[in-house]
């Protein structure tokens, strides 16, 4: 959606997201918050942190896609977001490669 020769009404560049979508996302975020609190009180073993992070990722994705308009943005913007996530994972992942394997072989 970078610059199609204004196919809708006026020469209005960005896509305008309707308040209805905002409201739906808002409700979804509230539900997600409730779910994550409830889930933390259930004994799920290793699934507890996975579910907590999964819900957080889902919520963050909703915010990025709709509140921050990435769903309606150009490929460049999408690539920008992805490159940020990629570098963040490189930082976490490559650091963890040291921490998880420090004790290996020393037993």
């Amino acid at each position: 959606m970078s610059h199609p020769v204004s196919d809708h009404e006026e020469a209005h560049g960005p896509h305008i997201v309707s308040p209805k979508i905002y409201l739906l996302v808002f409700l979804a975020l509230l539900i997600g918050t409730t779910l994550t609190v409830v889930a933390s009180y259930l004994e799920l073993g290793p699934w507890n942190p996975i579910i907590a992070l999964g819900i957080a990722v889902a919520k963050a994705t909703l915010v990025v896609l709709f509140f921050m308009h990435i769903k309606y943005s150009s490929k460049l913007m999408k690539l920008t977001v992805v490159s940020g996530i990629f570098t963040f994972l490189a930082l976490v992942g490559m650091s963890m490669s040291d921490y998880i394997s420090r004790a290996w072989g020393s037993f």
Partner: protein, 553 residues
């Protein structure tokens, strides 16, 4: 020596009355400017100032190491001197050197834009740089800092009583200056290109700055938060890196080197961009394997984020992780080698002339190759254990940073000096300076490889007497090197008034920046150009000239 200086427009050339230097007058027109070219000049003056201070400190270090005893200064003073040398040279000279001066000046012109995307942020970045630099100087005057440029914890958080907090904040601020420069470049390169200027028509200078900018934007914030945590640990005593409280000092190393290894590429990539331009111009050939060189810049940037642990092999990190990082480190050698080979192939059958920028570029190629290859020794975890924390490492990174980056910086400054000022530097004396620099450099740093192999540790004011001969060599070389750096400072200033008038395109180079007047107009182009030619298309340049002649005739 054949030269391309004797061109028809040279004798009749005049400095155009209207250019970015004469557009407005008064000190405020400089301090509040949004013009990327003026900001580049401001940066050039300020980084030269810090280079001078850093260089003076280097001189002190070499003087102290002339004798085995610590006699010139006390050992703790020596610690402060080499720490300040490192901090000033890395954060206040090398990181901003090419991007903030040449990059600022040239990138908008090279992509055919009137300015960078965010002129105010560009100016802000200069003020942040000044604030960071000023704070660093303040820290130096009021007692200095002696942690080394790496702020290693727990030394920096617990055991020293020097100005770690001030310096940490100074580097935090200077870091944001670098972030804003990088951000501006990325946005400009993506969004401000002239019509027809596709990605693969851009000069390689722009590509390498693009890659370096990615590293600046994504790496620097990690350094920022790390320094914030160090400062918080020193001031209010949070325990993230404090082993007494359960923190892990090695985590500091991970976070610090997550930035500071890519920072090495932030420093060298723009220099590689300069070399691509210079080699092509003075060999009068298109850069061999243009797209390979372009992609190798991006590859260096991406790999750059995956190798940082090779700075930490002896710090007690996991052996398995060492293995992975050691392997990945070897991979970075590939794109760097691609560049060197492609430059060499560019020279093959080129019509080479040996003007000063080319001499510096040759210096770069030789010294950077040695620096890079010794990096392979250090990236292999086995030899690294023997060589790390010795003078081998000092020699290695000085070959890359000084022999590589500083040579590229000087090459670029000479190359674009006619464009920036409208006047030529004096050719003969500058060739002499380039040769002196090369000789002095090798005298200074080659003996340090030997010292390192013999086991002389870095960061000590005193050393066993058997190392003295090589150290005297090194100090003698440093004095030659000092002359090599002072000469350009003198004759470049001299040339501002007395240099020959350069004309628009003294090198007959193909970049967009050479097709406009020198010095350029404030808005760069009278009319935004439509780009149809490839980068480094010398035939296109010939046709342009013929076209001009027929039009005038």
């Amino acid at each position: 020596m054949s030269t391309i200086l004797s061109l028809p427009d040279q004798s009749t050339a005049r400095i155009p009355k209207r250019n970015y230097l004469t557009n407005e007058n008064g000190i405020l027109s400089w301090l509040l400017t949004g013009d990327h070219k003026r900001i580049a000049i401001l940066y050039l003056i300020s980084i030269t100032f810090f280079f001078f201070i850093g260089g003076a400190l280097a001189g002190l270090i070499r003087l102290e190491l002339l004798t085995p005893q610590s006699d010139l200064m006390a050992t703790d003073t020596y610690n402060k001197v080499f720490s300040m040398h490192g901090i000033i040279m890395v954060f206040l000279f090398l990181v901003p050197s090419v991007p903030a001066t040449l990059g600022n000046f040239l990138i908008p012109i090279m992509v055919g834009a009137k300015d960078l995307a965010f002129p105010k942020i560009n100016l802000l970045s200069w003020y942040l740089y000044l604030a960071g630099g000023g704070l660093t100087l303040w820290a130096m005057i009021t007692g200095g800092v002696d942690t080394g440029w790496t702020f290693t914890t727990p030394l920096s958080t617990h055991y020293v009583n020097t100005n770690v907090v001030t310096t940490g904040l100074a580097i935090f601020i200077a870091g944001f200056s670098s972030i804003f420069t990088g951000l501006n470049f990325i946005v400009t390169i993506h969004r401000m290109r002239a019509p027809g200027m596709t990605w693969f028509k851009m000069p390689l200078f722009v590509w390498s700055h693009y890659a370096a900018s990615i590293l600046m934007v994504l790496g620097t914030p990690v350094l920022a938060i790390t320094l914030v945590l160090v400062v918080l640990e020193r001031t209010i005593g949070i325990g993230i890196f404090d082993p007494a409280k359960g923190g892990d000092p090695i985590l500091f190393q991970h976070l610090f080197w997550f930035y500071s290894h890519p920072a090495v590429y932030i420093m060298i990539l723009p220099g590689m961009g300069v070399i691509s331009e210079v080699i092509s111009t003075f060999a009068r050939k298109r850069v061999f394997g243009y797209s390979a060189v372009a992609f190798s810049s991006v590859a260096i940037a991406v790999f750059g984020f995956f190798v940082w642990e090779h700075h930490m092999f002896i710090m007690g990190v996991s052996n398995y992780s060492t293995l992975v990082f050691s392997l990945l480190t070897m991979l970075v050698a590939v794109p760097s080698a691609i560049k060197i080979f492609n430059w060499a192939f560019t020279l093959y059958k080129g019509s080479i002339t040996f003007e000063t920028p080319m001499l510096y570029a040759f210096g770069f190629m030789g010294l950077f190759t040695i620096g890079g290859l010794t990096g392979v020794f250090l990236g292999s975890s086995g030899t690294d254990i023997h060589l790390t924390e010795t003078y081998f490492i000092v020699a290695h990174f000085h070959f890359v940073m000084v022999g590589g980056m500083l040579m590229a910086f000087l090459s670029g400054i000479h190359f674009w000096w006619p464009k920036m000022t409208g006047r030529m530097y004096p050719e003969k004396v500058s060739q002499l300076a380039a040769v002196i620099t090369f000789i002095g450099f090798n005298f200074t740093f080659f003996p340090q490889f030997l010292l390192g192999m013999l086991g002389m540790p870095r960061r000590y004011a005193a050393y066993p007497p058997e190392f003295q001969v090589l150290n005297v060599f090194s100090t003698a070389g440093a004095s030659i090197l000092g002359v090599g750096y002072l000469l350009p400072m003198i004759y470049l200033v001299w040339s501002l008034k007395y240099g020959k008038i350069a004309g628009d395109n003294p090198w007959q180079a193909t970049g967009l920046e050479w097709q406009i007047q020198s010095p350029p107009l404030t808005q760069n182009f009278i009319e935004i150009p439509v780009v149809t030619q490839d980068a480094y298309d010398y035939e296109w340049l010939e046709r342009q000239k013929e076209h001009e002649v027929t039009q005038l005739g």
